[in-house]
Symmetry: C2
Subunit: 649 residues, 2 copies
């Protein structure tokens, strides 16, 4: 650059970016496809009860960390915050499954987490820790976990996430103190407060309020357009990505090239600005990570657009948040930057690279806010840096639709509580406006991925449908003491995970529902081969062969498989007593209960199976089993296509 | 005072305090006994589903506001924060019942809140607004509502409380801006940040951490002792208070006299301290609300103990939080103040005056923290004001056992996010230590008041009890089409609120559970007199006599009463169809389900009745009804006294 060999500089810049991006893309495409994207929707889906394999696997963790570093280094418009949430959740999950047996990392006390609920709690804490570390915002982490990530909340969880993020805060604090001399690169910079914004002004006029309301409204509209475009882009990309891993990498390379072009050629439009006279700042700077990039300007001048584009994301945000006196940007430069980041952010999400959404949205929002601050100068005296912060807040509110957690994260980023009323106001407005048009960006991505996410509320038309009208498929039941051959046959021919157990005469007076057995429990029981020749209750001493630990929830993709069983032909006619492994208090609903009410019970208790029992007597004691998929609007509307699909509200 | 007529000064001081306190006591004793105390336990109980009359009545609201003002003015060691939470909840409740018909304040659009869930949401928002206004802490208000007040949380509620506290923040901000010239007394003082603590030091040494850990541990122990003594004192007082309203006032007067004595005579122990040389402070001040009280000292000197005792609570806290350079207190003065406030706080709670616990605990904690800061001076360089803040935090953690909300409230009070790691650490330690000994102070008060509060978790022994083992009392059921005489008889002879409706042949093949009717619905139906001579289904046109609005939940103490019915003798033999008013999807559990699981379903769905259905066929279709009282440990242990009562954990 300094020798004016501009085109060669571009080739080096774009080439390096492309190599880094391609490396990130290759990792995602070949090793862990689940590591692509933000990761927050996946964590949200897991915490909703969707046990998708590989979301939280160790390979995903590895690719997420390395890929995120490569992707951010490649200069793509991606953040590291979403991936850090996913990383936190992955680490929690690996601890929660009792380490990884495959990689020899186990510990006996970790086995206490071998159940759904405690593992979910662990992962919630992991997500909270991710946000706490990414934004250096411990309270924001708790609230993020509460507002966005978790589907079930209980008071113990508040206390546990508090503990987790307190540890994160203390470790961060110690790390920053240790690194304060600058020996860890950029880590020590900024302390616990990443961007120090101080609002010199503490009183607001009517004009200020009008400006802020307009800012929030426009941001809400822009945010919902952002979500809509992200939705379209991700759908388009998923067609390309399905063609194979090589196509994924081509896409990454193309986007990387486009980004490099924008970042390199757009600053040429901007004019050179004389450096400020303040002697404490180094202006212009060439290779330092900092402010006032010289780019093509003569010494003593700086290029304002290059100071935004060719900087780390953190420094670009710090530049945008800075008050008027320190730094100035042309309104045209700000607008170009806003437009570039807005559209690059949209087309970057969905490529096979770990890509957070926070930073692109904050960048676009901060630029947008500063543009509006310039436009509103005639009617308001609020600082431009403050406008920039409010712009970022409102844009986040418009895309992600969080409220309290964003509010606290922004406060913890900027360390000025006096801004609170204004931040709350813009978040309120932008979220309300955007909610009129579509859903939050994470909910949209969940839907595109086809994950069966259970909403907190049932669709209105579900109130008019009874549970018996949606139970599907042939019901497979077992007797309390069942033939081994029957069990094997059913396990081989169906993919159900839960089976009702029915006690019949002579073991009870009338057929009655004894409980529910899980496929995984059946497999453990069959593996232990506690069979009897006669149809009798199991001898308790036989059961000692199986430790209760074997029934603990295995890690993803582990546990006993059907192929592992070693059942001889002579065993097939023997009997096995299912009572010891049956859950004798399954959640049941009456067949006439409305689907809406059943859906709420199902979701609130984090169930996987729900037994539907008959209302009148003299019929078999169970009508069917409801699973997550039976509550999906797609399933219900497939059965009753004439029900008009109400809009989500 | 200035004329050295000390004893006369005391008489005036104590006399005025006594009159104010007696007035507050009389209001509470004669008009609204429910207004005494903090109010937070009552709000918590209401949000748990306990519909106690008068907790949120308009008279309670009036007495709470006036009584709280009188009580705080009387110099009692009481806070205004708890009463403000109760006030917020009362206002929300009055809005939620559609205004007050008695006082002519109604509005037609308020009728949308005429159901349990929306009214509870309103009251949660009211409680959040109370905290937001009391501490000028909008995010803290949301978290308080979430962590301490609400028993059920849903994502919509987060958004609603956010909206409420955002409005509070904006109104507060506008009010402070309007009052900034000092025309509203003390209101405009301090702005949104009540106490400005700035941590000059941002790095911590090992000694600092040790000091903070000791501080948290000791505060946890002191906090649990505080709770234990409050428990004993409140139990003792309730014996006195039961003797009659006059005794309540005697108690208030006695405590007021004792407080005045402590406040007036203890400062005589302290030595006079020369004023600081800083010319910007007025020292000593006589009548101003501020710092540096002269008391009995010569001009140019001040009495440090009087500066704490004879000041508004806010100023005393500000004095304690102030950094070392500004103000100095003798360690003996601090200790005397701590001991006095600690014990006065304990003996003041429970008298018939609206009395918050936050301020006494913060005062005691801040003094305690400053004492410890002095003791630890050899090993730590942390500021004494910071120690004072940490002391307040740890003391709050030790008594109230909240974490995230206290953390955020303290941050919003002090506006220094850099303190966050230390505040989190002391809260963690003090809460963990105190939880080893007893429950939080609000839970204890709930228990003393005998309110049937449902804990989030079932007691361990409930896992071994089936639901059928606890259903009590003779079961009253109705037929789908029932005789009016029968209904009246049952309503007269029982106090049940819910009755199962059973369809019998010829209306169904076998007896089956049709649903559940509520007493209030039955009363509305009987009042409308939709009777038929024959045992047939009701003609839909007849039902038009009753508007669905009549079934809306009435305000506390309102609604149709049994005495209001005008049923003639000839009506008694007629029939009424209960199907239109029956809830045909009641929550049901099987009789063999464990009580622990049923308790969780009961609590998570905020139920009032739960039907227990038989497991085997050929029996009546309902075994019994479970209500809140059937889940109380007292009830279960009364039925099965040989079950050892496990400790709460």
């Amino acid at each position: 650059m300094s020798k004016q060999r501009y085109f060669e500089a571009f080739l080096v810049y774009a080439g390096l970016n492309m190599v880094l991006a391609a490396a990130a893309g290759a990792l995602c495409a070949y090793i862990a496809p689940a590591a692509a994207g933000s990761g927050i929707p996946e964590v949200k889906a897991y915490l909703n009860g969707i046990d998708a394999h590989s979301i939280l696997a160790p390979t995903t963790l590895f690719v997420k960390i390395v890929g995120s570093i490569l992707g951010v280094s490649a200069g793509l418009v991606v953040g590291k915050e979403g991936p850090m949430v996913h990383t936190g959740a992955c680490i929690a999950s690996i601890l929660g499954q009792g380490g990884s047996r495959k990689y020899g990392l186990t510990s006996s006390w970790l086995r206490y987490f071998k159940n759904d609920r405690d593992r979910r709690d662990m992962i919630t804490c992991g997500a909270a820790a991710g946000v706490a570390a990414a934004f250096r915002s411990p309270v924001g982490g708790i609230l993020f976990a509460l507002e966005e990530a978790a589907s079930w909340w209980r008071s113990a969880l508040l206390w546990r996430t508090f503990f987790t993020t307190a540890v994160v805060a203390i470790v961060l604090k110690a790390g920053i103190q240790f690194c304060s001399t600058g020996k860890c690169g950029l880590f020590g910079e900024g302390g616990l407060i990443l961007y120090d914004v101080s609002s010199a002004q503490v009183t607001y006029s009517g004009g200020d309020i009008v400006a802020v309301i307009v800012l929030g409204t426009v941001a809400g509209i822009l945010g919902s357009i952002y979500n809509c475009l992200v939705d379209k882009v991700v759908r388009t990309y998923s067609i390309i990505n399905e063609k194979g891993p090589a196509f994924k990498i081509y896409l990454v390379v193309a986007i990387s090239l486009l980004t490099s072009c924008c970042y390199y050629f757009l600053p040429w439009i901007a004019n050179c600005i004389p450096c400020p006279t303040d002697p404490t700042v180094t202006c212009p700077s060439v290779d330092e990570s900092g402010e006032y990039k010289i780019f093509q300007c003569p010494p003593g001048y700086y290029n304002d657009l290059a100071s935004l584009f060719l900087n780390t994301n953190d420094d670009a945000i710090r530049n945008l948040f800075s008050p008027k006196i320190n730094k100035e940007f042309h309104i045209s430069s700000l607008f170009i930057f806003f437009a570039a980041v807005y559209f690059l952010g949209i087309i970057t999400y969905g490529i096979a690279v770990p890509s957070g959404l926070f930073i692109p949205v904050i960048l676009a929002g901060a630029a947008y806010g500063r543009v509006l601050g310039r436009l509103f100068e005639p009617i308001t005296k609020l600082d431009r840096g403050l406008f920039s912060l409010l712009g970022a807040a409102s844009f986040l509110g418009g895309t992600m639709r969080m409220t309290v957690s964003l509010c606290v994260i922004l406060l913890e980023l900027t360390n000025d509580l006096l801004l609170l009323p204004l931040v709350m106001l813009v978040l309120l407005i932008s979220k309300s406006v955007a909610d009129c048009f579509n859903k939050g960006v994470y909910d949209q991505i969940l839907k595109i991925k086809g994950l069966p996410y259970l909403e907190a509320y049932a669709e209105p038309y579900m109130r008019n449908i009874a549970t018996r009208d949606v139970v599907s498929g042939p019901l497979m039941t077992f007797s309390g003491i069942e033939k081994v051959g029957n069990i094997l046959h059913v396990l081989n021919t169906t993919r159900h995970n839960g089976f009702p157990v029915i006690d019949e005469p002579p073991f009870s007076e009338t057929p009655e529902l004894c409980g529910l057995v899980l496929r995984s429990y059946l497999l453990v029981l069959l593996k232990a081969k506690n069979f009897t020749r006669e149809r009798t209750f199991a001898n308790p001493s036989i059961l000692e062969k199986v430790s209760s630990l074997d029934f603990g929830k295995a890690g993803s993709g582990k546990g006993v498989k059907l192929e592992d069983l070693d059942i001889q032909d002579e065993d097939l006619d023997m009997y096995v007593d299912l009572h010891p492994i049956a859950n004798t208090s399954p959640h049941t609903v009456v067949e006439t209960m409305s689907l809406a009410k059943a859906a709420i019970i199902f979701r609130q208790h984090g169930l996987r199976h729900m037994c539907v029992v008959p209302k009148s007597q003299g019929r078999p004691p169970i009508v069917g089993i409801l699973t997550r998929h039976d509550f999906m609007p797609e399933h219900v509307l497939g059965l009753y296509p004439d029900i008009k699909h109400h809009k989500w509200h």
